[in-house]
């Protein structure tokens, strides 16, 4: 193995001496792309093979029935819709929260530090906190009981294990918004104040400045982070397993359930579900890229 590494290193050195600076930069990029994408590509290929029953526990040889079962099951699509719904609503709340906070706290260092606090809280801890605060026997329920508003746990609204997924959405949003807020702070710090001041100097009202300058600037800046945050929530497991109802099942939970199914022949379905989630998030990234290019094209034309 060491010999192999040495040969590799020697070739690497020899190659490096031959190349000029420009080519060196592009080859470094090539290696970086390979290193970053190799695990994803390998994982996807393995999942594809498992989806067709070629590898993994309970594999049976070439067989598309796993894929057909997953695609043809209403349970899958209910799960997909419910997952998109919870991740989507949480992302909208997080975006609004991040934009509002970044504008309000533009000049408050302490405020900013506090706003990023949820980043440091592990997902499991956030999920347990949501249970302890929002459950029917949780903190708020006890406050309501002390105030005489409810008489037993069942009298408190169903916020956890509930079909609207309220506690789950709130926990999702709470964990996602500081990530977006950090990006928003950075956007405003680099260009926000300067552009806003210019607009005001040119006679725009505060409201118009926010609507026409700050908001588009912020949105353009945090849109990629929003896509990333949404994609992350689609696959989020810890909060989902702690707070979601038993039906519909979140995509991540149903995927794990299949991966550990007592019936070995169904474990391959977990790979189908994983590929499905990946396709959904990939599609979103593509749509986002298109809309950015379109926006650039429009911007170029008007300039």
């Amino acid at each position: 193995m060491n010999a192999c590494l040495r040969t590799g290193a020697a070739r690497f050195d020899a190659g490096r001496r031959e190349r000029d600076a420009v080519r060196h930069r592009s080859s470094a990029g090539y290696v970086a792309v390979t290193l970053v994408s190799a695990p994803v590509v390998a994982g996807t290929l393995y999942s594809l093979a498992a989806a067709f029953g070629l590898v993994g526990a309970g594999s049976t040889g070439w067989d598309a029935s796993r894929i057909m079962r997953v695609i043809g099951s209403s349970e899958t699509w209910q799960s997909v819709l419910w997952t998109l719904y919870t991740a989507g609503v949480a992302t909208i709340i997080a975006v609004i929260g991040a934009i509002a906070l970044s504008v309000v706290l533009q000049r408050s260092g302490v405020g900013r530090a506090l706003a990023t606090f949820p980043l440091a809280v592990p997902y499991v801890a956030a999920g347990l906190a949501a249970l302890l605060l929002l459950g029917q026997s949780g903190f708020f329920s006890r406050v309501a009981f002390a105030a005489g508003a409810v008489h037993d746990p069942a009298g408190f609204p169903e916020l956890v294990y509930d079909r609207p997924g309220i506690a789950l959405i709130l926990a999702f949003a709470w964990k996602e918004f500081p990530f977006l807020a950090l990006t928003a702070f950075a956007v405003l710090d680099t260009r926000g104040a300067e552009l806003a001041d210019t607009a005001r100097t040119l006679g725009a009202s505060a409201a118009a400045t926010f609507r026409r300058v700050t908001l588009p600037l912020l949105w353009r800046g945090i849109a990629p982070a929003t896509i990333a945050g949404f994609a992350y929530l689609v696959g989020q497991y810890e909060l989902a397993v702690l707070l979601a109802p038993s039906a519909p099942q979140p995509l991540s939970v149903i995927t794990y359930e299949r991966a550990s199914d007592p019936d070995l022949s169904r474990r391959g379905e977990a790979h189908v579900l994983g590929l499905l989630a990946m396709t959904l998030c990939g599609a979103l990234v593509v749509v986002h890229g298109r809309s950015l290019r379109n926006a650039d094209a429009r911007g170029g034309a008007s300039a």
Partner: protein, 411 residues
């Protein structure tokens, strides 16, 4: 471009080589070790480390394994025990992946398994052995007990060695529910009279409850023994689901949602959202009360219809790097000393797999003294209501059918 590709490939190959690791000798397997004199197995184990993949979710069990077993193994046999997380479904997936990657030498040497995991490991040929009968302490095993001698009706075939026994129990709060139901019929009447106060979890324990109900509905476990029978299963399932459908509107949250696992059940019970929780271990209640997780007035309860008892086992994977060490650990865990410690109510309260009648008199006396503990369910009622597990297929099917119908609220 071609040069860049070549370079990238060289790097990739170097990376793969690094992953594969240095070439190592494949360890002697458990089956051939079982042919040797025990002394030479012990000699081979000295100075080695045993990686044990097990469920690590209970602090009482972890304390017993890390704080009591590990130091004694080190002292008596020079074996270092390294217990790490890894249970049922993940074990099977991990071993299949290791085999696909051509890893003749895996990571783990010992696994804590039973029931459907054993069935799956066997089906996929992932177990080493036979070796279990070779252990010197195997002579004390209560092999007359159907619960210990069979694992979900399967013959362990020397591929796994028994470690302990547990029995399903409902848990209630004697202060809240002074007269708890004692049978499934009484439970149905109780649920009718107390809407919103009963549920079960979506995992193994909840399905075990439904399976016990199935035993009662088909006229006893005998009807389900002798392998999986589709017609009997369908009959049993349909009457179980009819029972559930009739009562579900009076379950917690009207049966529209179920707690994810037993931990959630315990939390709901302790917070008075529900009046029953349950456990696959009849003694979990005394342990959880001592830890302050459950109210002090919590008690375990056996239904007269019978409650499922099963044994849990230790297996050695086909690619165990240290089969000799694993056998020494499994043998130590079977010793009267280790079994007694494990059975203590303030340690783990896990049932022994040993037959007291086979033990030397001094050990028999020590085991007999354990029963005097006030917190535990009396041994004679445990025995009277114990019912064995049936073919794992009943469990698989009940799991799949419950998930796809009752849980989703569809017919």
């Amino acid at each position: 471009m071609r040069r860049m590709l070549g370079m990238a490939m060289t790097l990739a190959i170097a990376g793969l080589a690094a992953c594969a690791g240095p070439e190592e000798r494949v360890s002697e397997n458990a089956a051939s070790l079982a042919e040797m004199p025990w002394d030479s197995v012990v000699a081979r184990a000295r100075g080695t480390t045993v990686l044990w993949r097990m469920w690590r979710g209970d602090p009482a069990i972890n304390a017993y394994v890390d704080g009591w077993v590990a130091p004694r193994l080190k002292e008596q046999f020079g074996v270092t025990l390294d217990a790490v997380e890894g249970q049922g479904p993940e074990l099977v997936n991990a071993l299949v992946t290791e085999r696909e990657a051509g890893a003749d030498r895996g990571a783990a040497s010992l696994m804590w398994i039973n029931g459907e995991t054993f069935a799956q490991l066997r089906r996929e040929r992932l177990l080493a052995g036979p070796w279990a009968a070779r252990l010197p302490n195997a002579q004390y095993i209560d092999s007359a007990s159907v619960i210990i001698a069979r694992d979900f009706e399967q013959d362990p075939a020397g591929l796994e060695s028994p470690w302990g026994t547990v029995q399903f129990a409902l848990i209630y709060d004697s202060a809240r529910t002074p007269n708890p139901p004692r049978s499934f019929d009484e439970l149905a009447a109780w649920i009718d009279a107390h809407p919103g106060r009963f549920t079960h979890d979506q995992g193994f324990t909840g399905i075990t409850l439904l399976k016990m109900l199935m035993y009662a509905k088909v006229g006893g476990v005998e009807q389900l023994q002798g392998g999986f029978n589709e017609a009997t299963y369908v009959r049993g399932r349909d009457s179980v689901f009819a029972w559930v459908r009739r009562l579900a509107p009076k379950f917690w949250r009207k049966g529209e949602t179920y707690p994810p696992d037993v931990a959630a059940m315990h939390r709901l019970f302790a917070n008075r959202e529900i009046d029953f929780t349950m456990s696959n271990n009849q003694n979990e209640v005394t342990d959880k009360v001592r830890r302050g997780v459950l109210p002090a007035t919590s008690r375990a309860l056996l239904l007269r219809d019978g409650t499922i008892a099963n044994a849990h086992f230790l297996g050695i994977p086909f690619n165990a790097p240290n089969a000799a060490g694993a056998m020494v650990v499994a043998d130590f865990l079977l010793s009267p000393e280790a079994q007694l410690q494990k059975a203590r109510p303030d340690v783990w309260a896990d049932g022994t797999v040993l037959d007291r009648a086979k033990l030397p008199a001094t050990w028999r006396a020590r085991f007999d003294a354990l029963d005097a503990d006030a917190g535990a369910l009396p041994a004679d009622s445990l025995r009277r209501y114990a019912r064995p597990e049936v073919d794992p297929m009943y469990h698989e099917r009940m799991f799949a059918d419950w998930r796809s119908t009752i849980r989703r609220g569809t017919p």
